[in-house]
């Protein structure tokens, strides 16, 4: 049992490492299509991270919405504009060294803050599995106004997207 536990922890860290490698590949790969595929790998890996955090419903939503819908949209957009990203066209601007320096400083500060902050841990939450039913009760109870607002927002955004992308007559 102890060995199984240890293997599970090693698996989670391996998953995190794989996600980070895929994310680095995503921002550095030249071809935007390969970059989109690396994003799909990152999103599936994050669904796995949700599973380790006992958020089963969220993992399913992640696969459905991101890997199913958002990735399809992105790959469509990449293909529609593909002939622009020819091998000779530079894909990055010239700010890369400056960006790396700034981001390393940012990450250093953030890690220091994360390690030093005394988080008020609630041990009873650690084993609680949130089912879809509890999420639904939260949506229909405490967060009902935000829930209705986000549905109106989604409709507005989708109609707006169609109006913007449609051909003018």
């Amino acid at each position: 049992m102890e060995l199984l536990n240890l293997a599970g922890i090693a698996g989670v860290y391996t998953l995190m490492l794989v996600i980070l490698i895929a994310a680095v590949a995503m921002v550095t790969l030249r071809s935007l299509f390969h970059s989109a595929l690396a994003l799909a790998a990152v999103l599936i890996g994050i669904a796995g991270i949700y599973l380790t955090l006992q958020a089963d419903f969220l993992a399913m939503i992640q696969i459905l919405i991101y890997v199913g819908a958002v990735m399809t949209l992105i790959i469509f957009a990449v293909m529609l504009t593909e002939h622009l990203s020819h091998q000779t066209v530079r894909q990055n601007n010239r700010q890369s060294p400056l960006a790396i320096a700034g981001i390393c400083a940012f990450l250093f500060c953030l890690t220091g803050v994360i390690v030093r902050t005394p988080w008020p841990l609630q041990p009873q939450n650690q084993t609680a599995t949130i089912t879809a039913m509890e999420l639904g009760k939260a949506f229909m109870g405490q967060y009902v106004f935000a829930f209705e607002l986000i549905s109106v927002f989604l409709i507005a955004a989708l109609i707006g997207a169609i109006v913007i992308a449609r051909k003018d007559k």
Binding site: L20, V70, Q91, N92, A146
Partner: protein, 103 residues
Amino acid sequence: MMIPLEHYLIFAATLFAIGIYGALIRRNIIGILISIELMLNAVNVNLVAFSRSTSLAPETGQVFAIFVIAVAAASVAVGLAIVIALYRVRKSVYTEDIHLLKW
């Protein structure tokens, strides 16, 4: 199986930093949008990790994460629609060619 909260937070911070890097250095607008999706996902990991460890009602973080996913889906739909419209008008998807609102 217990992973400390700090490790999830550091993982999400690194993912967020990689997303910022991609958004800063890409010339292609679609590349920038992809990087923004990565940043939103890093924030979601943070929300879920916090809701499991420190929140009083353990479902709060997941509710927020679902809201973030909905807003991300809307943003990518509108963003890609703008990219397609710009491509039709300007025949370009590179940031320095699109300076209509810049002076």
